[in-house]
Every structure is written in C-alpha cells, then in structure tokens.
Symmetry: C2
Amino acid sequence: MNEPRKLEVLRAIVEDYVHYREPVGSKALVERHRLGVSSATIRNDMAALEDEGLIAAPHTSAGRVPTDKGYRVFVDQLSTVRPLSAAERHAIQSLLEGADDLDDVLERTVRLLSHLTNQVAVVQYPQLGRARVRHIEAVGLAPRQVLLVLIADSGTVEQRVVTVGEDLDHDRLAFLRQSFLAAAAGQPVGQLGANLARVMDTLMPQDKAVATELAAALGTLAASSREERIVTAGTAYLARSNSDFLLSISPVLEALEEQVVLLRLLSEMASDPRGVAVAIGHETAADSLLETSVVATGYGRDDAKIGILGPTRMDYPATMAAVRAVARYLSKILAGS
Amino acid sequence: MNEPRKLEVLRAIVEDYVHYREPVGSKALVERHRLGVSSATIRNDMAALEDEGLIAAPHTSAGRVPTDKGYRVFVDQLSTVRPLSAAERHAIQSLLEGADDLDDVLERTVRLLSHLTNQVAVVQYPQLGRARVRHIEAVGLAPRQVLLVLIADSGTVEQRVVTVGEDLDHDRLAFLRQSFLAAAAGQPVGQLGANLARVMDTLMPQDKAVATELAAALGTLAASSREERIVTAGTAYLARSNSDFLLSISPVLEALEEQVVLLRLLSEMASDPRGVAVAIGHETAADSLLETSVVATGYGRDDAKIGILGPTRMDYPATMAAVRAVARYLSKILAGS
DNA sequence: CTTAGCACTCTCTCTCCCCAAGTGCTAGAT
DNA sequence: ATCTAGCACTTGGGGAGAGAGAGTGCTAAG
C-alpha cells in the first residue's frame, strides 16, 4: 500500500466533495486529478481509508464522503493555509477603516468575515476580566442617582445608572470616585471587587454604606454580561448551504442565540501552531453543532475569539486563511486605537 | 348571498388554515364549525370569496388558502385581540424583573416576546432623537484623550473616547463640559448639534478649536448608529415554521441582519386603533418579506417599535395580544426606571 | 336561497422497473 | 509486490403508470 498516495486520495476526496457537494467515486477521482494510477487502484486505497474511518459511503452504490476524522486529517496534514488575494486584503483594510468605537469595529469585522467566507461569522467581545482598569467615573445625575462608568484598557466601556440609598453631594462623590480609582487603576478588571473591598476599610463610617452600594454596582459592571457576549453575522448563509443539504439549521440558530454553548466551545479551542483552531462536527461536543464545524482564533491582547461556523463540508484552507487574516487586522486596529 | 355568513366562512378558513397548516375545503369546514348549512352552500360562499380575492386555491383539487387580502379582512374585521392568560402575564412580569440597564431590558423583552409567540421578535432601540439630553459628561483619560458620555432621559447612554488635537487640563475640560451642558440639558437630543454650535460663539478664541472637536464628537454620538438599531431573538423559529412550508428563510434572515428594510417598515407602521399594527405579506413592501407578516406596536415615550415577524399564516389574535401586552409592560418598566 | 347529487380535475402516493453509478473481487500484467 | 482490467453485484434514484382521495363547479330539485 502506497501511503503518500493514499493521503493524496483523501485530499482529493475532500476537495472534490467540498467543490461538487456530492459523494465522490473512484472514477470521477482519476478523471479530475492526475493521480497516475487507475480507478481500481484508487478503489483499493479508498477501501483502506474507509477501514481507517476517514471516509464513509452513504450507500453501497454511492461514492465516498469524508468523515469528521477524515476532515481532521485533511486539516492537520494535508492543507496549507493559503494567503488571501490582494483584493481580499484590500477589502479587509477598507472595510475596517473608519470605524469608531469598539462596537462598531466588531460589527464591521464580523460582517466582513462573513462575506469573505460565505459563512456565519462570530466574534466574542474582548473579555474585561483579563483587561486592566483604565478609568472609573462617577457622575451625579440627581441627588441619589449616580452614573458609573468603567473603562478598561481593552477599549471596553461599561456604564450603568444606579440609585443609592442616601444623598450624595458633588464632593463626597468625587472623593469616593478618587478612592476607588486609586485602588483599582491599572489593576485587572477581574480583581476590581477585591480592590474596592480594601478601600472600604479606609473610609469614614458615614461613607461606608453608600460606598458599598457603589462598589457593588461597579463589581456587577465588571462582571457584566457583555464580556461574555458574541456578535454574529451572516446567518442567512446557513439557510443557503442548507437548501441543497439536509442539515437542520434550527438548532444551529438556537446555539447562536443561546451563546452559552458557543462561548464554551470558543474558549476551549486552543489555537494550533498555525494560529487557527478548528473543531469539526462532533468535536464541537455540542449536539446542536453535530454537522457543523467551527474555525476560530484569538485576537487582541486578551485572546478573545473570532471565527466562523459552517457545515463540516467547507473549504477549510480558504476559511482558515480568512479567519487568520481578519483576526490579525482586528488585533492591529485594536492595538492602535 | 348571506354576507355575515360569508365573513364567518372566511374566519373559519383563516382559523383552520392557521391551525392545520393545509388548504381547507368546504367539507372539512362544515365538519369543524357549526355553520348550520351544507357544504354546497359553503362552496358557493367560497366561490364568492375567491372572486373577491380573499382566498385562493393552490390547485383545482385542493382546498382554499387565505390571500394577504383575506388575512387583512380577518385582522381588521373578524378578530378580537384576546387578553393573555394569567400564566403568560406572570411570565412577562417575572422575566422582566431584575433587569438592570437598557440593553438588558430590551434583550430580555425580545426573548420573552419570541417565546410567547414562537416567532422571531424584534425591538427597536429607543430613538435618541426624540429624547432629551439628561447629562453630558467629559472625562480626561490622558492629556489628549477624552471620554464623552451622553445620557438621554430615555435611559440610553452613549459613550465614546475621542482624541483631540491639543492638551486639555482638568479645568478647561470641566469648563467646556459645563458650557455644553448648560446649552443642551433638557433639550431634544436631535437638536444637540445646533445647541452646541451656539456655545461656540461664547467661547474664548483659544478654546474654540478643541471645543469644536468635542462638539462634533458629541454630535456623532447623538446621531449614533444605536438609535437605529434592532435587537432580534428567536430566529430559530423561522427555520421551524419553514420546515413544513416552503418559504425560503434566507432572504428573511438577511432582512433581519440588514435592518434597514425592517427599520423603514417599522417606522411606517402606524398603530391602528386597537394599538397594534399589522403588515401582511406584500404589504410590507419588501421583496424579502413577501411571505412574511409583521405585527408591531410602539412603546415608551418616543414610540420606538417592538413586534414580531413570522409567516403570513400565523395566529394573528394571539400574536397581537402578546405584542400589545409586552409593549405595555416594557413601557411601564422604562417609565419607572 | 339552500341542498343533494354527480361528473370532472387535480395532486399525491404507491408500485414497479430499469438505469447509472459505484463497489469488491479475481485473475492477469508489470 | 503492486497495479490494472474486467466483471458480477448491489442499490439508490428517477420516471411511468395507475389508483385513490379530495375538492370543486354545476345543475336540478326542494
């Protein structure tokens, strides 16, 4: 048995299946690829590949389809991430220019990635937890109403209006704000609660009650939901890839909305040496994503994830290239702003 | 021809079609409803309804299906918005309690509405334009970096970090902020730009350049994209209602993401006397929503819209009731906070 | 105005059957 | 040893055809 050729056959099967969207047989294979051997030989190789669980036949008289395991071997050993075309690079650059705040940048990025790949794109908000506190602001709106703003060096700004139990004049508020800021500035957002707790001991008794209220609100802000939020784009592509294939998109849409499953998955996906992580089909360890693959990578300082989600039958090299390129641009932009 | 009975037949057709999801024939009609006449009579009525364009037959030997026009008559003349059950009211109340900021409230609301109706729910952000400026804050982060925060009395908080062309010490910034606030507080957000422009004339020459920069940034903030943003939930329901029906959901998903079409539609939908507006099929005036109906109503002070989007074959009375109830609760909560 | 009856028209489903694709195997060639 | 050619075998897919079922419109009578 010729091992290198066998892998070449696997590659050909994956590529043809992705391209033609139908099971591929031995004859079509020798016609479309210059393998230098006859279809009978290919059949032997295919039988071996099937024994190893890399490909499978939907029916006896149909061609072969790659299994999740087959895609895995393809991604790990057979694919080279090809660089993007100049046009694509240009598109990335021009689309990401002119964005102002973080929301806008993420929004544009995820749309861009979706268009580049014709897949659903997802991006995770930079996680406050690993970022550091850049500024805390407290603004009195009314005697008992305070607007709290927490700014992280990741560019994230969280704000919230809280109502406190006693009146706060301008000086008291300024003093408290200053105390909080002194204790927390430059420290990780994740430790905000602990840092603020230390402040309490230094305060005069009459300030403690209201200070506790404010600190609690700031703590909530730091742990706020946004840090664990995902922005998506291109859900319509799901329906399209499905029209010819029978994958029920309803559970996938649910997973996208629930976000919990996806967040777990993204955080578990450690980037491989080539900088992009891939979870194929059952590897996602989520029932709703059984027929779905996720290609993702980290971006920015705190390694939040960005990636795409699509049918297991996808063009992995192209997708990986797009995800990696977009993540790099995004990192660059976030670092620059 | 018996006019009242003819309308009764239309109602029966709509109700049965919504319920059983298949064309309804004259025989089934007399079996399921106590119409007091024979199927032959019903057939006459149905022929008349078809002449008026209220129902249509997919093919000769199938039953009839309501047309958009038929649904319109049903909604306008034949349906009564029935109140929600106690359980549903309870669900609304408990789900909306415990929400903190505006984002959270809208998020919960839209999910709630989606679950109640088993449809895609959409909610438009309260429009800053009609709200009034409650507070403007400017915080120096670095000598040339300023965090601007704009708070509207609708509860919306917009913020952005801007870099200005010259150093700003604390006193100068505080002065400018105070000037801006004095000119704009209590005024409509939509007029913020004009109000700030007036401030410019009162400033010392050396302040004008930087003040103009800040004012421009605030103006952008006021016109910020968020005011024209829609939050959605329950897109998975689209796929489900489609599995048995052949409506291509891809364009609908696109419309949901594009938002532009939907925003136009929502703003054009004037609430009818019963408090809920309905756009049926082609009435949406959007190709992508040809087989889709939108049920929406305004909420809050500035009449931002909340509603659902689903197949034209939907339970209009129940949906309208849910939309109306949720909108009321939402208005109440926003007024209270 | 309503009803009963009836002829007619469709679609849907089932079955049958053949075709095309593709495989695995065996025997021979290199 | 490995590859190739040939061939028998399997099987899903597609088309044809028939029958059933549903529903209609029409007519004539109540």
